[in-house]
Symmetry: C2
Subunit: 199 residues, 2 copies
């Protein structure tokens, strides 16, 4: 038995979801048809609308439906003089959830990876440079991931900042709060020791 054409198309389309193979796609398609048609139709609408109308903020490159996102438009944040550089919009969410940071963001949408053809241009460092040259930013906080690529990207941007006379800082590496010393990797422990503070 062949699946009916629209059902087959749905199963095939579901495979664009991360981690969904042919069997899961089929299971999801049948689940929606059998038990949640309204939810499925709603999801179809939301997907079509989101893919069509969500673009990038012209100022910080995060996802936004408007040319400039809410955070970039906030005068209070503009006045802070702080700019936090992160790799992806989910990082912005994570930082915002702490409720402690009140500055602006710049979202690279990736990290430097010359082997994959991702250079400074691809992660928007030209946009960042223009932004820094406008002179409203006093400090750039580099919050890229603590991976090899993230570190390299942070160092590259730090150099850029130094050339433009803007202060650059890197978020601290060390023990995660609530972590256990014997379960943490050596690299993190090393960072925790070298970054120790007087009490």
């Amino acid at each position: 038995m062949q699946l009916s054409p629209k059902l087959a198309a749905l199963v095939e389309a579901l495979r664009c979801l991360p981690g969904i193979g042919p069997k899961s796609a089929q299971r999801i398609a049948f689940h929606l048809l059998e038990r949640d048609r309204d939810g499925g139709a709603q999801l179809g609408n939301c997907l079509s609308q989101a893919m069509q109308s969500i673009g990038h903020c012209e100022s910080c490159r995060t996802f936004s439906e408007t040319p400039i996102c809410d955070i970039c438009e906030s005068v209070k944040r503009q006045d802070s003089g702080l700019l936090c550089v992160v790799e992806s919009p989910t990082d912005v969410l994570a930082i915002e959830q702490t409720g402690q940071y009140t500055g602006l963001y710049f979202v690279l949408m990736g990290h430097l990876s010359p082997l994959d053809g991702i250079g400074p241009q691809e992660i928007g460092l030209d946009v960042l440079q223009t932004k820094l040259q406008q002179g409203n930013i006093n400090e750039v906080i580099l919050a890229t991931n603590p991976t090899v690529e993230g570190e390299a990207t942070a160092h590259y941007i730090a150099e850029l900042c130094n050339n433009l006379g803007v202060k650059a800082s890197r978020i601290a590496h060390g023990m995660p709060v609530g972590g256990e010393l014997d379960l943490v990797d050596g690299m993190t422990l090393m960072h925790a020791f070298s970054g120790r503070k007087a009490l």
Copy 2:
């Protein structure tokens, strides 16, 4: 930071997928926006179309875009005089993949479960009865799942068939091919012994 309205709507809508919680929904939404907008838009289209236009075959109750599905329309299958009763459209797929069965199907879309308010009417046994009364079916093969509810449903339908003078049979229970005797449960082993065949 609030997610932008359409992004928030998409994350919420994604939670209708089975096994997807708030964190996974967010991860999927960002994945689609960052890396696979075409796939996402395509999925949106397919979902909308499928939810709208996939209904049930009037003859066998499986999913179908046409009033009568391909299998029910096949003259060869109608001539076989065989009707296989299964619980869900995925069971039809599984049986069709063996390529050995050439009869018709009847899909219950569930099983008898009086406590959940699912009686004979809800699983379409009135439709099945009308079908059997037309006299084209010589044998009903009961291929409901070997669970308590599946067995109960099979016995109920077997009685229905007997009353109508149609032969009813149940698929065999026993060792799965390639299985190991010491890993199989006692109930299955018991069935395998009681269903033994002369060699």
